[in-house]
């Protein structure tokens, strides 16, 4: 395995190995750029990915201390992974493009009391990269990858959707192999997609990117390496990253260029924790936008208690979606749209999420219907608010002496009517098939964490430009979902991957031009 000297200042340091960092690192390595990837989590061995939700939750979840405020869980404000592969280990594979209007939330929605701006790029510019991302990830229904066969739960959704008049029902748009592709097998409908995928049929950077990067001879993965600070020179260019290695020892890696992809809490936290006399409010924070505009989607779940057996746990946990409500139609009483996705839950997840706090017959009679349950998960546009975000704790520090993050999130008033509409839509869909009962339930979080180092045309409005390059620092890049200017309604991973491919191309061209 290739290793690089810590004083080698010709390497690109990529922080994080998830959808953004893992793809960017592989892209750069494939073209001969030397990359050191610092990943805070450890690398799971082949036998460590198992069909056990609780064990995998322990092995993969980011549990470093954080504080939640507003509507967030005070002790566990956001869900993401700390492992090689990042949150692609946990994602369920739904790979849907943002729509054209979702790149223009300010122009298109004109919602009051938001900090929304339009993206500095549009769908037309991202489309070629969506194409490449979809091919790369083996997204179903694109290129030569057939749609994923519909499992029972998706069939319920599709039948209900037809009855209520929805037209855009599909098991395409899932980055799970319906046939063998790219050295990874076809889906065996195991379930447990959120637990890492035992066979690697689901695209993840763990299975599909990092092993390829390692074969190039231009890539070194350093698991267990927690980035603590990005250093810069007197000219304001970044020159290296201080990190704690797997043994807790403090190390420093020199860098030609630094790309931060630590997910939407750790990415801004690292920039804020890298403050200096030259950048007293943190790196790239001249506009005061680092850590702000945190987006996490308006989310909702719904269980249908169906008249006959469904066995929704069989197969892909999200095996398709309904796109009819993704349009922007203010006549519904809210701005933006939402996506209706197939979803399946273990008994524990049903009990803990859908019936949180319930007990007695109210709980047991619901769970007794487990084999008859169908379910949907809804993700909707989440308007940017300056007050939603990540800031550093004034006193409490982590084991390395760095301030822990405080995460604040409160719904915009647009969320209420959207959730209500979505709950009614889900109810209508299940009712159309004779559901005995429909239980919409609020979900505190998806693993969609976005927006905290957003792109902007104007340096005063954001953190980075349309390439993810920090407005203030020429060789510092934001490479994960933090750079999203709006959430859109779709799951973010496909867009993160498309942006990473595009960013890699941009970085290569700048390197070729001698700019960095």
């Amino acid at each position: 395995m290739k290793t690089f000297e810590k004083l080698d200042d010709t390497v690109v340091v990529v922080i994080g190995s998830g959808a953004g960092g893992g793809v960017l690192a592989n892209e750069l390595a494939q073209s001969g750029v030397n990359v050191v990837c610092l990943e805070a989590g450890r690398r799971l061995g082949p036998g460590e990915i198992v069909n056990d939700e609780r064990i995998m939750d322990q092995r993969m979840t980011w549990r470093d201390r954080r504080i939640g405020e507003g509507q967030l869980n005070p002790r566990f404000p956001a869900w993401m992974c700390k492992t090689v592969g990042g949150t692609t280990m946990h994602w369920t594979g739904t790979a849907v493009r943002l729509q054209a209007h979702e790149f223009m939330p300010k122009t298109h929605y004109a919602l009051p009391d938001t900090n929304a701006i339009d993206w500095p790029l549009g769908l037309d510019e991202l489309e070629p990269y969506y194409e490449r991302a979809e091919y790369r990830m083996g997204v179903s229904g694109r290129h030569d990858m057939p749609p994923l066969p519909m499992n029972n739960n998706m069939k319920v959704l599709a039948a209900g959707a037809r009855r209520v008049g929805y037209r855009h029902v599909t098991s395409s748009g899932v980055a799970i192999n319906s046939v063998a592709f790219d050295g990874r097998p076809a889906c065996q409908q195991i379930g447990f997609c959120k637990s890492g995928c035992v066979i690697g049929a689901k695209w993840s950077t763990y299975h599909a990117e990092i092993p390829k990067a390692e074969k190039t001879g231009h890539f070194e993965l350093r698991p267990g390496s927690m980035a603590l600070q990005i250093e810069h020179d007197p000219a304001g260019r970044v020159i290296g990253v201080v990190y704690a290695d797997a043994n807790g020892a403090i190390q420093r890696q020199s860098a030609r260029l630094v790309c931060v992809a630590g997910n939407a809490i750790e990415t801004p936290r690292l920039l804020l924790n890298s403050s200096s006399s030259m950048f007293p409010d943190g790196l790239a924070n001249g506009a005061g936008q680092v850590g702000h505009n945190y987006l996490k989607h308006v989310v909702l779940g719904a269980l249908g208690f169906m008249p006959d057996e469904v066995h929704f746990y069989r197969g892909a946990q999200q095996g398709g979606h309904i796109a009819d409500e993704q349009r922007d139609d203010p006549s519904r009483g809210f701005a933006g749209g939402y996506q209706i996705e197939s979803a399946a839950f273990s008994p524990l997840a049903v009990a803990r999420i859908a019936f949180d706090g319930k007990w007695g017959p109210e709980m047991s009679e619901a769970l007794d219907q487990y084999t008859h349950l169908a379910a949907t998960f809804i993700t909707g546009e989440d308007p940017a608010l300056y007050t939603n975000g990540i800031r550093l704790h004034a006193a409490e520090v982590d084991e390395y002496g760095l301030p822990i993050p405080i995460v604040h999130y409160t719904d915009h008033e647009n969320a209420g009517p959207m959730r209500k509409h979505a709950a009614n839509a889900a109810s209508a869909l299940f009712d159309a098939l004779g559901a005995r009962r429909v239980v919409p339930f609020s979900v505190n979080m998806a693993t969609h964490n976005l927006g905290t180092c957003r792109m902007s045309s104007n340096a005063a409005d954001g953190v980075c430009n349309q390439w993810g390059r920090a407005h203030e620092i020429d060789n510092l890049y934001i490479s994960d979902g933090s750079q999203f200017t709006s959430s859109g309604s779709a799951n973010p991973t496909l867009t993160i991957v498309a942006l990473a491919i595009r960013q890699a191309e941009h970085i290569r061209s700048r390197m070729a031009a001698g700019e960095v």
């Binding site: 198992v50 069909n51 056990d52 939700e53 609780r54 066969p149 519909m150 499992n151 029972n152 069939k155 319920v156 039948a159 037809r162 009855r163 037209r167 029902v169 889906c187 065996q188 409908q189 195991i190 379930g191 447990f192 035992v198 066979i199 008249p307 006959d308 057996e309 469904v310 066995h311 746990y313 069989r314 197969g315 273990s346 008994p347 524990l348 049903v350 009990a351 803990r352 706090g357 007990w359 007695g360 017959p361 709980m363 047991s364 769970l367 007794d368 487990y370 084999t371 098939l433």
Partner: protein, 166 residues
């Protein structure tokens, strides 16, 4: 009393002893760690929380023990024990011993805002709904990779949906 079974009665009768054990009324942790009566008592609380027909009393006892162990690991364990103790004083031993299903539920409801109740609930819920015997009872098979998933075992075998096309 006539509508509840012997098992429920015994569990109910020993539940208070279980709370006593949890609340630290026993002399030492070592004593109560092996106190079957205490675990049976907590089992009654688990039964009150998650009353499924066809789940054996051993499962409730097992879940109670796991929940207690996870609570013992918490930094606020002593506080929880003290709260449990004061709850005991508020209801009295003899009343508890006579509780039937409905009365146990009423008691649970009365204490449901306490940190003790919420903590025990949060500890017991994942143990109960992850228990293999409970899964069997609910019809959830758990892991499937070793059997090749459901690709050839019914992932798409639903047969009662309407045939109407778009």
């Amino acid at each position: 009393m006539n509508v509840i079974g012997r098992r429920e009665f015994l569990l109910g009768a020993t539940a208070l002893a279980g709370l006593a054990a949890l609340a630290g009324c026993d002399k030492s942790r070592e004593d109560h760690a092996t106190d079957a009566q205490g675990d049976n008592g907590l089992a009654a609380l688990v039964l009150t929380l998650f009353p499924h027909q066809g789940v054996a009393s051993e499962v409730y006892a097992d879940v109670a023990e796991r929940a207690r162990k996870s609570l013992e690991a918490r930094v606020d364990w002593d506080d929880l024990r003290q709260e449990g103790a004061s709850l005991l004083e508020s209801i009295g031993t003899e009343q508890w011993a006579a509780l039937d299903d409905a009365a146990r539920a009423a008691f649970a409801s009365a204490i449901s805002d306490t940190r003790f109740f919420k903590s025990f609930y949060q500890a017991a819920l994942p143990e109960f709904y992850s228990h293999p015997d409970v899964w069997r009872r609910l019809g959830y098979p758990g892991e499937s990779a070793s059997q090749g998933g459901y690709l050839h075992r019914g992932f798409d075998n639903i047969d009662w949906l309407p045939e109407d096309q778009p």
